[in-house]
């Protein structure tokens, strides 16, 4: 079990990201250090997903750099970044619908960047017990919550050192959201480094230690999550619906 240190696991430094000719991110910087759970908060369309995609290599930045364990990654393909230890969980739960739950997990099985092989099928099922009885079922037939658990489990199978989580609570029933919250706390306690993109600050309260707020593609605020909770001004300007 690791604890929080000051070592940066992954970061973005002054990145600009474009889709086609329109710029989405402007000079965004964010760094997540070992064992930290960082919340990336902002309204719908503020640039949270794009920041995560830029880190994962799916939306390569035009300028600036991204790093994983100190290595520059901004020109790398997604699979290189994933092998370098950064796991990505997409917002819309992109399970492979015609593969079984077990196959979804096995496809993603790999060692971590330093040979870590903590996560196995057995450990995933131990962590996400609701998946075990479903392991033979087509992933496309799972409920939304189950699919969300599966995508998280699938990314963990790659033994990442850092995890990018894109709105894991979105569109799920409150009871499922609670379960996911519990799962994230468990991961935090295990010392997994997480960047959690969310619209819902309350969901992050018991999970994240720090918060970064993004709006219109720019970082507008960063502090501990408790400080953000107390800052009504920032909440009203950037987070209120």
């Amino acid at each position: 079990m690791t604890t929080t240190t000051n070592r940066t696991i992954f970061s973005a430094e002054n990145i600009d990201v474009f889709y086609g000719t329109s710029q989405i991110l402007f000079d965004v910087s964010i760094a997540v250090s070992e064992g930290q759970t960082m919340a990336l908060l902002g309204r719908n369309g503020a640039g949270k997903s794009t920041t995560l995609k830029a880190l994962a290599g799916l939306a390569p930045p035009k300028r600036g750099k991204t790093t994983v364990l100190g290595t520059e990654m901004q020109r790398r393909k997604p699979h290189v970044i994933a092998r370098a230890g950064l796991g990505y969980v997409p917002e819309d739960r992109q399970v492979f619908p015609e593969h079984s739950v077990e196959d979804n997990l096995l496809i993603a099985e790999k060692k971590g960047p330093n040979g870590e092989d903590y996560w196995t099928l057995a450990r995933i099922f131990e962590m996400l017990p609701m998946l075990e009885p479903l392991k033979g079922r087509m992933a496309g037939r799972l409920s939304g919550g189950e699919q969300q658990m599966l995508t998280i489990g699938r990314t963990l199978m790659g033994n990442p050192v850092g995890l990018l989580l894109d709105e894991p609570s979105e569109g799920l029933a409150p009871v499922i959201v609670q379960q996911i919250g519990a799962l994230l706390r468990k991961l935090r306690d295990m010392g997994v480094t997480v960047l959690l993109a969310e619209q819902n600050m309350h969901f992050c309260l018991g999970i994240a230690s720090h918060a970064t707020v993004i709006d219109k593609g720019e970082i507008v605020y960063r502090d501990t999550i408790e400080a953000l909770r107390a800052n009504e001004d920032v909440k009203a300007r950037y987070l209120a619906l």
Partner: protein, 300 residues
Amino acid sequence: MDLSALGSCLISPSCVITQSTSGLIIGLLLFLVAAGVSLIFGVLKVVNFAHGAFYMLGAYFAYSAYQLSGSYLIAVLAGGIGVAIFGVLFERLLISRVYGSPVLMQILVCYAMILILDDVVKIIWGADFLSFGMPPAFQQLPILFAGGVVPVFYLFLIVITLIIAALLGLLITKTRYGKIVRAAAVNPSMVSALGINTGVVYASVFMLGGLLAGLAGGLAAPVRSLTAGMGTSIIIESFIVTVIGGMGSVAGALVGSILIGLVRSFGSIGFPLFTEGLMFVMMAVVLVLKPSGLFGKEGR
């Protein structure tokens, strides 16, 4: 049209057996080519018009290997492996550069490749057709079975292609590689985000498709004459199979191929002048009733 002849064939066991084996053999060789077309389309969304040329190359590689070694086994393997390597080169050097382009641009590249390969074959192996010759092991009298006639070589081809089909089926459904390939067909960027190099997956699919087409060319070489342009007819049939069976489905390709084989063999008795038309009618009917094909997934 000669429906009475077709009718009397269908009630005669000897005719049914003979025509069915002939349908099987036509269909199974076609399957090896069509499966590659289907896989490549399913995973890469590339309509590989050059696949018929792969088959042709396989036959020519096998021919040269047979001239050098005198071994049919080596010849077939040379055809398969040679085209597998060629498939990877084709994918890496040419097709991978137009993945983002419109389908028609990809077809343009394939067509250019067909033109070039036909010419290259003409330069290397000559403009005259070549005949491979039956390997001595198969120079035997055909087997008589319930009044039907089944040549030994065709029996061998049927068995070997069925084995290849079974192995291919296992590879695609049971192995980790097959699971990754199918996943990449659905969602390549997610596969990439899980740390899998999709470039390698794509190249490997072309390699697999090339291997199958090359094997088909090598296996068929003893009974087909080799000429530049011999891939043209098989590629059109492969597309019919792919459409009928469902794009990307190996099982669909198998069923579709055998169906085409049977249409050809029984059609030649019932509609000797319109067998070709019959295949297109079948394709049109399937497309109208179930556009995704018999084994295809809806909504893709």
